[in-house]
Symmetry: C2
């Protein structure tokens, strides 16, 4: 086993996904680690584990992490968790995976094996959500709502963290119509993107939202009894379904 510890580091990210600070539900504080190790009993302690947070662009905390964990004891394995941010929009400029790995290794002693958990940075940019536009509601002088056939049930991040995404009409990239992309759920908070420029979107248009490969499918719900969309892998012009579209029969399968 490995022991999850709280390194006492608070990275620069949304408070919901900062996990390394002292006031955290996760991990043992440094002073409790010896007592926790005593109670591991017949299991073998392979090393220490920490995770300071998610969607992090400033690598400085990662450099300290190996040092802090190494100071807690001499173990062959240190798991420094995940957290490398990705580009959700063109303005985002995350560090490369190579720079991230260098930062992780800088603080750790030479003779330990360093593990990391780069989930979002591996799959986030691999995902593109494909919506169909249902209606366009123009409120003169106020806002133009572009309503799509999904929303907070397939991507909760805008509502939960104020996360920012981009979008394009699939066959007409670029555009100069200022739009707000709204989901189909029964609440005003179900807004996928506020203020994005689109090419005069209309009913039936296909809208693509990039960078939805992480925490979209994983956090999906059946809110308003919406069946969840399929997941399709595409490569070199080929496509195959890896998670099939949910059906209404699926939705009632657990009803007794």
């Amino acid at each position: 086993v490995m022991l999850r510890v709280t390194p006492g580091i608070k990275p620069s990210t949304h408070s919901f996904i900062a996990t390394g600070q002292v006031d955290s539900k996760f991990g043992f504080a440094a002073e409790d680690v010896p007592r926790a190790i005593e109670r591991i009993d017949r299991l073998e302690l392979a090393g220490l584990h920490a995770h300071i947070g998610s969607q992090i662009f400033d690598l400085a905390p990662f450099e300290k992490l190996g040092e802090i964990l190494a100071a807690m004891g001499d173990y062959p394995l240190l798991n420094l968790g995940g957290g490398l941010g990705i580009a959700y929009t063109a303005e985002d400029d995350p560090p490369s995976i190579e720079t991230y790995v260098e930062s992780l290794l800088r603080g750790a002693p030479d003779d330990v094996t360093v593990l990391c958990e780069p989930g979002r940075s591996l799959v986030g940019n691999a995902g593109v959500t494909v919506y169909t536009v249902g209606t366009v509601k123009e409120i003169p002088g106020v806002r133009t709502y572009v309503a799509v056939d999904g929303g907070m049930s397939d991507n909760l991040r805008p509502m939960l963290y104020g996360a920012r995404y981009e979008a394009e009409v699939a066959d007409r990239f670029g555009g100069d119509t200022l739009c707000t992309v709204a989901g189909k759920h029964c609440e005003s908070g179900d807004i996928l993107i506020r203020d994005v420029m689109l090419a005069d979107p209309g009913p039936g248009d296909v809208l693509v939202v990039p960078a939805t490969g992480a925490y979209g499918h994983a956090m999906a719900s059946n809110y308003n009894a919406l069946p969840r969309p399929p997941v399709i892998f595409c490569s070199g012009g080929d496509a195959r379904v890896v998670v099939r579209r949910e059906t209404f029969d699926d939705l009632t399968r657990r009803d007794v």
Copy 2:
């Protein structure tokens, strides 16, 4: 059919669940109603529909609603939507269903049939979520985390709207240990209740959270591949499963 209109009323509630204001993805604005009615074509227009928001305690907006809709045209049916708030905590003092209905009827003309959609106020207080305590993490001088076997996957409202709930240890109501009830999901935002007094909770204790009958099961997800809990109806000492517990087989059923 009925026509959803935007009455231009903004009730006092969380902005995510206020839906009657002019800047809304929902409904036709008053000035667009005649044009929308023209295009209804071969369908029969039975009346108008509005919904101003949810979890509302101040009934004044409901009194105006019937008037505003009646001014848009002479129809036999007015659906004034839902929105009556419920008590999530002992401090909440919502109006009674009777007072709410009186407010709805006050503004509507005598000769129309008034419909309403009192979802939350019917089922919200009927639900109690039952958790088991996993661990208790006391951080001296900071906070005591009580971790349960659920969280934002079965109740998203605390994270999404800052909604406040209460809790009790099932067999020891009352108590003087200041606790924060944390979910089991992989983010710091997964906190069900901040600062609630519990009776010295420990691993294995059963924790009950009342008022989870609305928007709990309905918004549930499989975040962190957690199977969703069952729904059980109880009455007069009898209990029966109405939605069975989700299994790991269910979770992979759509994988191709």
